[in-house]
Structures are given as structure tokens and as C-alpha cells.
């Protein structure tokens, strides 16, 4: 699997590689995510995502035949296995993404962008998050914007995904000084300031995983 160009399409096995890479990342960073969550939430974000992504990888083996079916399976599995708020949120992200992917056999840059955008819109519809609320939105929205900018500039898919991952990481870091206005952290008021949002941190991992899976290997 070489580097994908903008006109290349991402087939199911690349998307499975993305999910697998995300699973590995939440395993590796699970303790860190839970630690972030213990500062301003209920100390289960890492544990929940590890359980969810393990269930996802079991559910997509063998993988469904189209990206749409794959993403739907991912969404439903997260909804039933995560438990915390990240279940319905990431679940909605993948379910809406699945609907946007339709029955295409592979996703090119534009289709990938449409899929991710539908997922983000789903998260916004579900959680009513706005920019600066100190949520996963604050990592996902800049990531998508960077992805789109990069594709429009004619860069390769892998480069676009790498730009998106960088923007997601910046977005994650930018949540540290924010006052939480949504989710469990919002109950803490001022005490939520000075901590990175765990949802933004896992969202950054999701985009880093995407970049890794689209890179040449």
C-alpha cells in the first residue's frame, strides 16, 4: 500500500487499518486518557474507548464489503460497548459517516471529507457542542478544516490526513486553558481550566491513526 493521491480511493482494508491503528493508540494512551478524564470527568474515557475499540476490531473481522457497511458496524459496536458519553458521540460520528459513504466500494478524498464532515455534524447535532466549549469538537473541527484545505490545495490524501492530525493535536492542546461548557467537566466550572479535554485528546488520536494508515509503508 503506497502513498495515496487525492484521486486514489481508500478501500475497506485501509479503513480497517485506520481503526486498528486507533485501537492500538487508545490501548497505548488509555491510561493517559483516563488520567485526563479523572481530572475533569469521571475517569473512564480511556477504559471505555479500549473496550469499545476492542469490540470494534472483533466485529469487523472479517470486514464488511463496503466502507459504508464497515463504518455502520463500527458505529453500532461503539454505541453498544462504550457506555460513557463517548459511545453515543463516536457512535454517531461513524453512523452518520456510514450514511454519507453510501454504497461506494472505496472513498476518494472528496468522499472521505464528506464522510468525516457528516460524522462531525452528527456529533454537533448530538452533543450541541460549539467551538470553545472544551470538547472533542475543538479537535475535530480544525482537523476537518485542515483536511479540506490540504485537499483543495491539491495535496495527496496522506498529506491531507497528516495536516488534519496536526490540526487536531493543536486543537487538543488548545482545550487546556478553556472553561468546559459541555459534558461532565462543565459541572466543575473554573476548575476545568488547565486540563486537556479527554475527548479532544482521543479525537486527535483518531486523526493521527488516519494519517498513519494512509501513509506509505
Amino acid at each position: 500500500m503506497g502513498t495515496l493521491t487525492v484521486t486514489d480511493a481508500v478501500p475497506v482494508d485501509r479503513l480497517v487499518a485506520w481503526l486498528s491503528s486507533f485501537r492500538d493508540a487508545v490501548h497505548e494512551q488509555g491510561a493517559y486518557l483516563t488520567e485526563l478524564d479523572s481530572a475533569i470527568g469521571d475517569a473512564d474515557h480511556g477504559v471505555n474507548l479500549v473496550r469499545g475499540m476492542d469490540a470494534v476490531m472483533a466485529a469487523v473481522d472479517p470486514p464488511p464489503s463496503t466502507p459504508g457497511e464497515l463504518l455502520k458496524k463500527v458505529g453500532m459496536t461503539l454505541v453498544t460497548s462504550v457506555g460513557g458519553a463517548s459511545g453515543p458521540l463516536y457512535g454517531t460520528f461513524f453512523l452518520r459517516g456510514a450514511a454519507a459513504a453510501g454504497d461506494a466500494s472505496a472513498l476518494d478524498g472528496a468522499a472521505l471529507l464528506t464522510m468525516l464532515r457528516a460524522g462531525l455534524e452528527g456529533i454537533v447535532a448530538r452533543g450541541k457542542a460549539e467551538p470553545g466549549d472544551k470538547t472533542m469538537y475543538d479537535a475535530l473541527a480544525p482537523a476537518l478544516a485542515a483536511f479540506e484545505r490540504s485537499l483543495s490545495a491539491g495535496e495527496h490524501l496522506a498529506a491531507a490526513a497528516r495536516a488534519a492530525a496536526g490540526a487536531a493535536a493543536d486543537g487538543r492542546d488548545a482545550t487546556e486553558p478553556m472553561l468546559a461548557l459541555k459534558g461532565r467537566a462543565s459541572y466543575l466550572g473554573e476548575r476545568s481550566v488547565g486540563h486537556i479535554d479527554p475527548g479532544a485528546a482521543s479525537s486527535a488520536l483518531l486523526f493521527e491513526a488516519l494519517a498513519d494508515s494512509l501513509d506509505a509503508r
Binding site: T80, S81, G84, G87, R184
Partner: protein, 224 residues
């Protein structure tokens, strides 16, 4: 659940629980969707939830199951709202009334615990503005639900534009009549006596407006 069922002695609406995900805390939207199907009724289903993922999963469950019957996601407090909703639904009330009842379910607790307010003596004469122009009337609420959200809003609207300071007192508590929320916290039900006091140029008009609404049962008598 048991607490709520005690209220209705075994006869009551279907109550289904969807709690826990993957054997632990949290919620699972597919479980919520399954509970919705079990409780499905053309009369509608009221969904009560606590916080966090429960709210998100309940909303997602509607997207997953696209129910053909009316479903309301209630912002009511889970425990108090459930007891109030089950009691009301067992009495044959429709979804809208049950939903309203659930959402008002904190009022009794708020009234009981807010002692400084509850015990504050009613003393209209303590108001220095209460002079010759003040006027008051005692009225009995005849509509079935008393001073709930809609009547409270009607009163607040009716007196809001008048040049008068209007207060409503019931059960030893006093509320600003221009605030439907304050009126709600009086918790005045059917048969409750309220005292309406008004001061200012439009005092008489304000009293007349409230009296008219109360005597007409807030337009709810035909419906009830």
C-alpha cells in the same frame, strides 16, 4: 421503579428500564431503543434520564429506531419525574400532561426545603409602596391542574405590560406575577386559594385580568 409503582398499586403505565452498557455503568442507545419498542404505545412514550451519556443515548435511540408513535425526551429529574409521571399516566393523562407533570416534579421538594421562603410570613403591608392604590382579591383555582406552566405564563403575560406591581400569594408563599417561574414555585393546585395583590396605576386592571383568567379556568375547563 418500585417507588413509582407504589403510587399506582400495580395498575399503571408500562415502565421499561434501559440502564448500563456492556455490563457496567453508562448507557447503550440500542438498549434504549429496545426499551422504547417494549413500551411502544400509540399514546406515546415519555423518556426520563439522568445525565451525560443517558441524554445522548436517548437522543441517539430515536435516530436508531425512528418510532412511529410520539416520544418525548423529558428534562425532568429522574426519580421525582418518574414518580410524578407514573402517577399521572396511571390516571389516564395524555403524554403532554404527563410530561408537564414530570417536569414540575421538583416543585414540592423545592418548596419543602426552601424554608426561608416557605416560612416567610405573608405581609403585604410591609411593602412601603403599598398605599391607597393597592388592591387585592382572593380567588380559588378551579381548573384541574391549578397554576401549572401554561396558566402561570398566561398570568405573567396578562400583567406584564401593565403599570402595576402584582404579587400572587398561596400557601404562605409569595410570587411576582410577572414571573411564570415564580408563579410555578407556589405549587398551587386545583382548589388552592390564591391572593392577588396589585399596586400602581393599573392595579385594578391587573386584578381584573387575573380574576378573569382564574374564573375562566385558564380556558381549560372544556378540555378537562
Amino acid at each position: 421503579m418500585e417507588l413509582a409503582r407504589e403510587m399506582v398499586h400495580g395498575e399503571g403505565p408500562a415502565v421499561e428500564v434501559a440502564a448500563g452498557a456492556a455490563g457496567g455503568f453508562g448507557t447503550d442507545a440500542t438498549e434504549v431503543a429496545a426499551a422504547l419498542r417494549r413500551a411502544a404505545s400509540p399514546d406515546g412514550v415519555l423518556v426520563l434520564m439522568d445525565l451525560g451519556s443517558a441524554v445522548l443515548s436517548a437522543a441517539l435511540s430515536l435516530e436508531l429506531s425512528a418510532p412511529s408513535y410520539p416520544v418525548r425526551l423529558s428534562s425532568a429529574p429522574l426519580v421525582e419525574g418518574l414518580v410524578a409521571a407514573v402517577a399521572r399516566a396511571a390516571g389516564g393523562a395524555d403524554l403532554e400532561v404527563v410530561a408537564r407533570e414530570a417536569e414540575a416534579a421538583l416543585v414540592p421538594k423545592v418548596s419543602t426545603l426552601a424554608q426561608p421562603v416557605a416560612e416567610r410570613p405573608v405581609a403585604p403591608s410591609a411593602d412601603p409602596a403599598a398605599g391607597v392604590s393597592d388592591t387585592s382579591v382572593r380567588l380559588t383555582l378551579i381548573n384541574p391542574l391549578g397554576l401549572h406552566a401554561r396558566p402561570a405564563a398566561q398570568i405573567a403575560t396578562a400583567v406584564g405590560s401593565l403599570a402595576a406591581t402584582v404579587a400572587v400569594e398561596a400557601g404562605g408563599r409569595r410570587a411576582d406575577a410577572t414571573s411564570s417561574l415564580e408563579l410555578l414555585t407556589l405549587g398551587a393546585g386545583q382548589g388552592a386559594e390564591i391572593t392577588v395583590t396589585a399596586t400602581g396605576a393599573d392595579a385594578v386592571r391587573a386584578i381584573d385580568a387575573v380574576r378573569e383568567l382564574v374564573l375562566a379556568g385558564f380556558g381549560e375547563l372544556e378540555a378537562g
